[in-house]
């Protein structure tokens, strides 16, 4: 599979090291995606990495938020408006919102984990009436590291939104500490709640365990996993987690399917 050329239509720095790009296909339409799916983004000559889709741009195309942590993500973050990048995908499983219909929804995001959850939240907002109570809990290392701050404020007017940071600055007035601390504050009704969780693996496991403890069944706690991926299509073998190919069987998976796997060290 070779990447399709996409043009960077806009480039908006979110945070010091995080940029949101709008990518438009150079020719043809851009294939539809479901919340939680990802693309393989190619910085020409530099490399290719998996990046979640954070939204559909109004004029078509993908909205993707990238944090510069290494060579490829840095190159993508620095791609100027108008330049070409390569896109393959979308790939992988998605957050199944149909299953959430009629239920209370907890959306839990750690750090950049908010990026793949953004389409989930927008969907919830667009069809607010289909769901019960909606709570959004977000954790970030520092207030500075929070992405989508303006949207968070907007969502806060419609849902129960709570944000915690590990290391507050002087201006911070909200809660501090781990995101698991927020789970107790949102008041969960186990029989009618489902959860969508994305963030660093330890954060996801701690959150899922906390939700489990509160009685939410494991199959209604859905995570999005991260593994090394070179192909995105189950060919390179890198992303295996026990029997799963994270790129094909995941990245979005029920906690019932992965809890046992994540428990085993270095699986």
């Amino acid at each position: 599979m070779i990447p399709a050329p996409y043009r960077v239509r806009s480039r908006r720095p979110d945070r010091a090291d995080t940029v949101t790009l709008v990518l438009e296909p150079v020719d043809g339409a851009c294939p539809p995606f479901l919340p939680g799916q990802f693309t393989m983004l190619y910085a020409p000559g530099v490399g290719e990495i998996p990046v979640s889709i954070s939204g559909r741009a109004r004029a078509g195309g993908y909205v993707q938020t990238i944090r510069a942590v290494g060579a490829v993500s840095r190159a993508l973050c620095h791609t100027p408006r108008g330049s070409l990048v390569g896109v393959r995908g979308p790939f992988g499983t998605h957050f199944d919102l149909a299953r959430a219909a009629g239920l209370d929804v907890v959306v839990a995001a750690g750090g950049l984990g908010l990026a793949p959850l953004r389409p989930v939240i927008r969907e919830l907002a667009a069809h607010r009436a289909r769901y019960g109570r909606i709570s959004l809990i977000v954790g970030a290392r520092t207030p500075d590291a929070l992405i989508y701050p303006r949207e968070l404020a907007r969502w806060g007017r419609r849902f129960d939104v709570r944000v915690t940071v590990d290391r507050p600055d002087r201006a911070w007035q909200g809660p501090t500490g781990l995101i698991t601390g927020l789970v107790g504050r949102i008041g969960v009704e186990p029989g009618r709640t489902c959860a969508f969780v994305c963030g660093p693996e330890i954060m996801m496991r701690a959150t899922a365990e906390e939700l489990l403890r509160r009685g939410i069944p494991a199959d209604r706690i859905v995570l999005s996993l991260e593994r090394n991926m070179k192909c995105g299509i189950g060919r390179c073998g890198h992303c295996q987690l026990g029997p799963l190919f994270t790129c094909l069987d995941g990245p979005v998976l029920g906690y019932d399917k992965v809890a046992g796997l994540l428990e085993v060290e270095q699986l």
């Binding site: 990447p3 000559g45 026990g242």
Partner: protein, 356 residues
């Protein structure tokens, strides 16, 4: 088409060449028997055999057989899923697919385990949602001539994997080497094979020839150097994820990846992106990778499978357990290559037994 008997292989080689195939077969080279292009049947390793044991391989003079040896260090994988291929080149932001090189190659002397391994790779590379078209092309360009194993190696266990020693499908022509007098029973496995055989000077096979061929395979099956007890192996490996045996193996395992390189079913790859300093074009190549390398699972600057134990566990569990979950078959065909070509002499059949 009915089985026939061939006295020599030269007409077969010639006929393949006339059909535009480069004919590849086993030859003695640099102290091993391995695939190389054949000039004529005289290049075949007549009289040579091999002795294989964990971490050991030696050439040995052996009777008059042409195919009196076991699996060679290279598998058909080298032709269907080459060690390195170019995927695309990109000039001014527009990627151009690299042309797929799929030369017409006839491989003479393919073993049952190799055919079984091809079937496994077919499932992996063609059976899913994203079939690999380059693999399909290279695969289609092959003309496979199987040979029944008469002398299995000391590390072979294809019989217990249900993959040999006699090839039952996946070939165009299958040969069984018979002695007294020396001749080959040839059976076709497809139309191309039948057409080829029809064009060769031959006699029809007698009932005794068929019986002799069966006896060759049976004797070989009885002489397998090793076996694996598949009963419950898949579940067992799941239960044994935290076994201390993995750490014990890790003290011996070099994490050198030889086992995965020689394995005919291992398919893992990585990609390398680069730019040409001179003309600025970008290129992506794909090359064999292995679950034994650290970069394989690198995430956020650190590998998921940092320990040798975790990497060995991935390899063995994949072959005999999770492969079944993923592809509905084992990832091992019992060729024994990973045992012979492991510098540390680690024997998967023995380790599986210990993990009981």
């Amino acid at each position: 088409m009915e089985p026939i008997v061939l006295d020599t292989l030269d007409p077969l080689i010639e006929a393949l060449r006339e059909r535009g195939y480069a004919v590849v077969g086993p030859v003695v080279r640099d102290g091993v028997i391995r695939f190389a292009e054949l000039g004529s049947a005289a290049d075949l390793p007549t009289g040579w055999g091999d002795e294989q044991a964990p971490g050991a391989y030696r050439l040995r003079a052996r009777g008059e057989l042409v195919f009196g040896f076991a699996a060679s260090p290279d598998a058909v994988k080298r032709f269907t899923h080459p060690p390195r291929t170019s995927l695309f080149r990109m000039r001014d932001g527009v990627p151009e697919r690299a042309p797929v090189e799929a030369p017409k190659v006839a491989i003479l002397g393919v073993r049952a385990c190799d055919l079984a391994a091809l079937a496994v790779q077919d499932r992996v590379l063609l059976g899913g949602r994203y079939p690999d078209e380059a693999y399909r092309k290279r695969r289609a360009a092959l003309f496979l001539i199987a040979v029944t194993c008469a002398v299995p190696g000391g590390t072979c266990f294809c019989a217990s994997m249900g993959a040999g020693p006699r090839a039952v499908s996946g070939f165009e022509v299958a040969l069984t080497e018979l002695s007294g007098p020396h001749r080959f029973l040839a059976e076709s496995g497809g139309e191309r094979g039948a057409a080829l055989l029809a064009a060769l000077p031959s006699q029809p096979a007698a009932a005794a020839d068929l019986e002799a061929a069966r006896a060759v395979a049976e004797a070989a099956a009885g002489r397998m150097g090793r076996r694996v007890d598949l009963d419950g192996v898949r579940e067992r490996l799941v239960q044994q994820r935290e076994s201390p045996i993995w750490n014990d193996i890790a003290t011996r395992c070099l994490t050198c990846a030889n086992c995965t390189m020689v394995c005919p079913t291992c398919f893992c790859v990585t990609v390398e992106d680069g730019t040409d300093l001179a003309d600025g074009t970008a290129e992506r190549t794909e090359r064999w990778d292995s679950c034994f390398t650290l970069d394989f699972t690198e995430l956020g600057g650190a590998p998921v499978r940092a320990s040798g134990a975790a990497r060995y566990r991935q390899w063995l569990s994949h072959k005999f357990s999770t492969w079944v979950d993923q592809f509905g078959a084992y990832g091992c065909v019992g060729c024994g290559r990973c045992i012979t070509w492991c510098p540390a002499g680690i024997d998967i059949t023995e380790e599986l037994e210990r993990l009981r």
